[in-house]
Symmetry: C2
Subunit: 343 residues, 2 copies
DNA sequence: TTGAAAGCGTTACCAT
DNA sequence: ATGGTAACGCTTTCAA
């Protein structure tokens, strides 16, 4: 491996000078700098980030800590979009991005959680929570107690080095529900999942609120998918219809799905049953993922600024690391109802 | 930061002994080990991966080097699936996963490319190429010359530390085309993209071959999307139809899309024009991404073992790192035609 | 403006 | 079975 010593020797200077050149410190005389740069080029030298990390006690890397128990989480469009945003911000600031899914089957220890921080792999992390508020409370407490730097997605949080980046989930769900109510719907069902997730609690509350506000509290109807896949969404939809059949009550005339992936599965089942969207049942999704406008009929949905969330989260963390901590500890980005044809 | 020295002091032993315990070396006496483990627990000690990396000249990290010029690459279902597979394998072997998209706007230098290796951030990388064979040839040469360990996706490669993990793209495309021909289609168009990509060259060749074999060489018809999004696929489809209109020739009766994402956009346009799939035009996709079975009509497509490719690639690399290099330098995984209803 | 040397946390060798 | 110590490659004083 080529080291800073090799470069120093080649350029006839000391390692300190090479270091100064690398970091663009203005102390070096122009022609010395020139000699050093040439040596670097000639020897094809890259400073060891590892040695730098050790010496400076900082890795210039941020982690993506995904607590989702689903090992295939990167294929979830929302996660992917967040990741893309994170990657963009990291690249811009010359930070590395480390993927960190704790091997834990869900119930992970504080040790596991803190390992990447404590071992110096990352300076900070963006945390994607899974489970109910209650269940991940301890995770946040551990992170806070450990005094590590992190940003949580879709969840409020206090703490010395804690940031939160959210979107207006409740508002979005409320707006979507109100839209349906405005269209004359009264039987509006919500599709969520047994796999809880902070944003879903908020979306659910927005739906509930809108229903109550319209005096439709008695019509609140929820069906849960086993997971966050389209197949799960189909299952939830089927269960819902069967429950109505069994209880002899009319089908809902509108569905608000916890996300677009679920909505896609639900629409598939409706088509199977010969139910027409939106004529027989209106469907609204959540997230506005890439395919929302390409399903048939094009999906009305609540747009979530996922890319921006990832980007902003990383930017906040990097600013904090570089000694210019954002004063805004909590960022709430707007959602927007995108009306297409499904509802 | 808690160091190995703190643990040593707490347990009343030397750092070397602590190190031996950490690595489970059988030289330590059981009760010494016990004392050390207690100290580790008590002090909440995590060995610094950075220091380990420096000392052992190995980071226990693999990189995902994505040469795709699209910064939103993680949202591509195929990339996401590969990433999921990589993540799974990395986690299993206690390796970290580093995301590495060279900031380069496409034409990246050898320096940039090798930086993560040379700087000790990663021990090896999975490389997702973009562009034509010719255009990325130099990238592979640089990697080979630098003697770094890597696995290329969807591209054959020779080299001391080079592996390749492919799927049977050409076979898949050929089978899909033959299926269409068997169904009586003669006017079969292929949708590709100006953004070339190794697998697409193979898919295209499979299509061409099947057409020629059936004596349909004159009917080969290709329309290119500007990118690999559904919107691009829609554009390519529109262009194709307009070209037929302009030239007064009949529309193709079948479409083989370069991937499912493109197929989705294409089907959208067909629906817009009142063309019925598959009655008027059959559509076959490629990849079998999650939503393939949920579009309307459910998409016939060629399944690609993307998850497994990512997983196997990382496994090969790790075996090589750990001194047990796989003898098989090239892995070809099978594709499979999944017949649903679109074609 | 440049250089010498200590130290970041760990491991591997050589002693004991 | 355990301990002392010199590296690993870099940055950061401090001195020249």
């Amino acid at each position: 491996m080529t080291t800073i010593w090799d470069v120093a020797r080649e350029a006839g200077v000391s390692p300190s000078t090479v270091s100064n050149v690398i970091h663009g410190r203005p102390v070096v005389k122009p022609d010395t700098r020139q000699r050093v740069l040439e040596a670097i080029e000639k020897l094809n030298f890259h400073p060891s980030r590892v040695a730098q990390g050790l010496r400076q006690q900082s890795s210039r890397a941020v982690g993506f800590l995904v607590l989702d128990p689903n090992p295939r989480w990167p294929t979830d469009p929302l996660h992917a979009e967040v990741l893309a945003g994170m990657s963009e911000a990291a690249t811009e600031h010359d930070y590395s991005l480390l993927l960190d899914r704790p091997s834990g089957n869900g119930c992970l220890t504080a040790r596991e959680l803190l390992q990447p921080f404590r071992s110096g792999q990352i300076d900070a992390a963006v945390v994607a929570l899974a489970g109910t508020s209650a269940s991940h409370q301890h995770v946040l407490e551990e992170l806070n107690r450990a005094d590590v730097l992190f940003a949580v997605l879709e969840r409020e949080i206090e703490g010395r080095c804690a940031y939160s980046v959210m979107s207006a989930n409740a508002d979005g769900a409320r707006a979507a529900t109100q839209k349906l109510i405005g269209d004359g719907h009264e039987q509006i069902a919500f599709l969520d999942s047994e796999q809880m997730w902070p944003a879903i609690e908020l979306r659910l509350s927005g739906y509930r609120r809108a229903m109550h506000e319209a005096g439709l509290g008695d019509h609140i109807l929820i069906s849960s998918s086993p997971d966050w896949t389209s197949t799960g969404g189909a299952t939830a939809m089927r269960n819902l219809l069967e429950r109505c059949d069994r209880e002899g009550r009319p089908y809902p005339t509108a569905i608000l799905a916890g996300n677009d992936v679920l909505a896609v599965g639900a629409m598939h089942v409706l088509r199977e049953r010969g139910l027409c969207v939106p004529a027989n049942i209106a469907v609204i999704g959540f997230d506005d993922f890439e395919f929302a406008r390409y399903v048939d009929p094009p999906l009305t949905t609540v747009r979530l600024p996922a890319h921006e969330m990832g980007k902003r989260a990383v930017e906040m963390l990097i600013r904090h690391i570089e000694g210019d901590p954002p004063t805004q500890r909590k960022l709430v980005l707007p959602t927007e109802l995108v009306v297409r044809q499904s509802g």
